[in-house]
């Protein structure tokens, strides 16, 4: 019926099959009975309605039978679930970081990947961490989903049982680009995984500039690219020192993107909105970025210009 790719799939799918089977029997059965009743007891002259008002026996029957059935459903639902909170002691640990609007997977020691790469047939505990609003990590093929709530330490775990790529989606509404908050779980054979991890480790240690790291951790790149791609906000490529057409209130003016422009755009994003983009989408970073941080960012933006 479904194609599950983790150890959780069997329990979940069994509960689905049981509930849907009972549902089908009742929905079809009651519908057929209604149609029969409508035809057989259609109004005819000389065939008056039979006047009866109830039956204690029937009431007991159709209270007890559904009660037994729903208790069985509860049982299947619970037994499919209870394993989901019992992480084996030898599970490897990865931390999923949710931010508007991208996933990042932290393998420890600052090694972060955009995709959740894992070895097949090995238990993994995914710790869930949000840096802004509520998100929810959902991997449909694995039948796992838990919310990623700021200030909470939630987790999920599973054993992937198939090699391949599986969709990761965000299922707790998190604002503008909620539907683009996607990633992949890439499941590899142990040897392939070990190879990947070696390369990953080497590249992750590469020193990124402070400004880049700060902006990545703040989430700037979800809306602003550094390679000229147009996202929700304007790209940072070639920004510093350029002439910008902006809307100040309803007036269109041209200003130079200097230090004070950049600072103002971080603290009061709606004051000067670059032509062609919408206001109200970016929040102020007043309480989040200190003056020193803004200087670090500005210095980094300058380097983007030189690289050009």
């Amino acid at each position: 019926m479904f194609s599950g790719a983790s150890n959780m799939a069997e329990g979940v799918d069994r509960a689905f099959v049981f509930i849907f089977s009972v549902a089908a029997v009742f929905i079809v059965g009651i519908s057929i009975f209604m149609i029969y009743t409508l035809i057989h007891f259609a109004r005819k002259k000389g065939k008056p309605a039979r006047q009866f008002e109830g039956s204690i026996k029937l009431e007991i029957l159709w209270t007890v039978v559904p009660l037994i059935l729903v208790m069985m459903m509860f049982h299947y639902g619970w037994s499919g679930f209870k394993n989901m909170r019992k992480v084996p002691a030898d599970a490897m640990n990865v931390t999923a970081i949710g931010r508007m609007w991208q996933w990042e997977f932290d393998y420890g020691n600052g090694m972060k990947s955009k995709e959740l790469v894992l070895p097949v047939n090995k238990a993994v505990r995914v710790n869930l961490k949000s840096v802004d609003v509520n998100h929810s990590l959902f991997i449909p093929a694995f039948r796992v989903k838990e919310d990623v709530i700021p200030g909470y330490e939630n987790y999920l775990w599973f054993i992937p049982t198939q090699v391949g790529d599986f969709e990761i989606l965000c299922t707790e509404y998190c604002g503008l680009l909620h539907s683009s908050m996607l990633s992949k779980a890439v499941i590899k054979e142990q040897a392939d995984y070990d190879n990947w991890f070696k390369t990953f480790k080497a590249s992750a240690v590469k020193n990124e500039p402070d400004g880049y790291l700060l902006m990545r951790n703040t989430g700037c790149f979800a809306c602003h690219s550094i390679d000229g791609t147009k996202l929700v906000g304007p790209s940072f490529k070639g920004l510093f020192g350029s002439q910008r057409d902006v809307l100040r209130g309803d007036k269109k003016i041209t200003i130079t993107a200097d230090e004070s422009y950049i600072k103002n755009s971080i603290l009061n994003p709606d004051a000067d909105v670059v032509a062609g983009f919408n206001k109200g989408l970016m929040k102020s970073y007043k309480d989040i970025l200190k003056d020193a941080d803004i200087k670090t960012i500005t210095d980094y933006l300058k380097t983007l210009n030189q690289a050009k």
Binding site: V12, F16, R50, V70, W78, D147, I149, G175, L176, L182
Partner: protein
């Protein structure tokens, strides 16, 4: 009791009291006129929200941007939810049919507090206007979803506060209506109408009214707390301010789950009136239906946690809420069996109201069983916050509450307007609505199981087939709505004159002229028997 339709009386539509013309409506304290004013508002707002729903369906016909930007889409599903939930499905049935028929069904001249009733209406109108205003002023349409989950709702730069205020005011309107109905039912039943001689629609309103009075204040204070969070930066819910986002979810669902029963209980009450009339036989299991309403209202308070199975709540509370959710299914099942048995052995006349009521049972069963999938923890993990949930609650709210409303309006239309609608058009609209509805929402069950999340502006290409079928269904459904509303509106003034009792019903509303006179009864009736007593074959048994 007057059963005159000779035209010697003045109907509530023509009655002239202290105020005349338009003022005779705007300042009326007549429960029937207030009921009609609610009806007209609900129709207007329903079309606003339905058109927004259609626009979202068009956007989703293909992946990526089709006709709107993501911010617009997010604003649209938010306002669609706010209008549909707070302005339509929560208030509609008590406010329209409750107002119009509760006093008549219990043999009273009006509700207990007629002026308070009018005040509720104006609160409702102000709240609804705030909701619409939130779309057009200041920082842009709210984009939080109707659930206002913190921290996003504390941070979004859009008009969240207007939407919160709207929901708050609408909540007050709902509380006052509930209070009014409780007092009316306790104090104003006609002489001889003991509790167990009261028809079942008033019983369902009674169960509903208690939820309105007891649960709504919780969401009221919660919404005020979010406003305080945004304006004063207090830190109830936003972790950036030291608050707890899961606490918000608890408080929100403590009201908003029972609110589902505010929607569905009166709907169940309506079809419970329809089955006996068109079968010409008493309700099967009067007592069972009555106590199942009370049981749903009671157990319904304790199942809110099933909205939070993935929110990291404790192992024990997941067990507890799952278990109780399964228990609340039982009284709903009992009702279905009793409705079907009410028809069995009857003399069934399949008029449009009955056809709608039968569609209601079918759609409600699908909604109910898929609800069990959401109550079972393992399966909820897979389908929580996906299109499956969207399909499920549309089957309950639209397929259930909506189709029961359509059944109710076709049942009571002759009484309310004193005219008949066109039967052929009514049958056509019911069938078109039924087909469109299933095409629109059934594919979303499958999409959800496959992993299509809800509130998604864009989606993965493998989901497109289901989305296209769903969008086509949306258009068919909308056509059905237009046929139905057109038929009713056209015939409200121009239809053939309706007799006092077109369906041969036995409850009190059918014993007075159509449309009813100003204060319903010339003299208050004496009740001497159970409410659903047809023919002479029965032994006049009171339960």
């Amino acid at each position: 009791m007057s059963n005159s339709d000779s035209g010697t009386y003045v109907s509530y539509l023509d009655y002239e009291g202290k105020h005349k013309g338009l003022m005779g409506w705007l300042l009326t304290t007549d429960h029937k006129r207030i009921g009609l004013m609610y009806l007209y508002c609900v129709i207007v707002f329903f079309f606003v929200a339905a058109i927004i729903g259609e626009l979202m369906r068009i956007e989703l016909i293909a992946p990526g941007e089709t006709i709107m930007k993501p911010q617009t889409y997010n604003g649209m599903f938010t306002i669609h939810g706010i209008i549909m939930i707070f302005v339509i499905v929560i208030p509609a049935l008590p406010a329209i049919f409750g107002n119009f028929f509760l006093p008549i069904l219990i043999g009273a001249k009006d509700v207990a507090f007629p002026k308070l009733n009018l005040f509720s209406f104006y609160l409702y109108l102000i709240g609804a206007i705030f909701g619409v205003l939130s779309q057009f002023i200041g920082g842009g349409a709210p984009d939080t979803g109707w659930t206002f989950y913190v921290p996003y709702s504390a941070e979004s730069s859009t008009n969240v506060i207007y939407a919160l205020v709207a929901a708050f005011i609408l909540g007050f309107s709902s509380i006052l209506t509930g209070l009014n109905f409780i007092v009316t039912i306790h104090r104003m039943r006609a002489p001889g109408m003991g509790w167990f001689r009261m028809p079942l629609f008033p019983w369902s309103l009674y169960a509903t009214a208690w939820i309105q009075v007891l649960a709504t204040p919780i969401v009221g204070i919660t919404l005020l707390m979010v406003i305080a969070e945004r304006v004063l930066k207090i830190g109830f819910f936003d972790p950036a301010l030291g608050g707890d986002p899961v606490l918000y979810q608890h408080l929100f669902w403590i009201y908003s789950h029972p609110a589902v029963y505010i929607m569905i209980l009166p709907a169940m009450g309506i079809v419970t009136e329809i089955f006996p009339t068109f079968s010409q036989k008493p309700v099967f299991g009067y007592t069972a239906i009555l106590f199942s309403s009370l049981a749903i209202a009671f157990i319904g308070y304790f199942v809110w946690g099933h909205h939070m199975f993935t929110a990291g709540i404790s192992y024990g509370s997941r067990w507890f809420f799952s278990f109780l959710t399964f228990l609340v299914a039982i009284p709903s099942a009992v009702k279905v069996f009793n409705w079907v048995s009410t028809m069995y052995g009857g003399s069934i006349d399949l008029k449009p109201p009955l056809l709608f009521a039968i569609f209601f049972i079918f759609l409600f069963m699908i909604g109910g069983f898929t609800g069990l999938t959401l109550g079972s923890v393992a399966t909820d993990i897979q389908v929580h916050d996906t299109a499956f949930v969207v399909a499920h609650f549309h089957y309950i709210i639209f397929g259930g509450m909506g189709f029961a409303t359509f059944a109710g309006i076709h049942y009571w239309f002759p009484k309310m307007f004193g005219r008949m609608y066109n039967n052929t058009l009514a049958y056509t609209s019911s069938i078109v609505l039924f087909i469109g509805f299933n095409m629109l929402y059934f594919p979303q069950f499958i999409l959800g199981i496959q992993g299509m999340p809800r509130r998604y502006f864009d989606y993965l290409p493998q989901f497109q087939t289901g989305q296209v079928i769903s969008t086509i269904g949306g258009f068919i459904l909308f056509a059905g709505l237009l046929i139905m509303v057109g038929n009713l509106m056209w015939h409200a003034r121009r239809g053939v004159q309706a007799p006092a009792n077109p369906w041969n019903g036995v409850t009190l509303e059918w014993q007075i002229p159509s449309p009813p006179p100003h204060e319903n009864f010339d003299e208050i009736p004496e009740i001497t028997h159970a409410p659903y007593l047809f023919g002479t074959g029965s032994d006049n048994k009171t339960i």
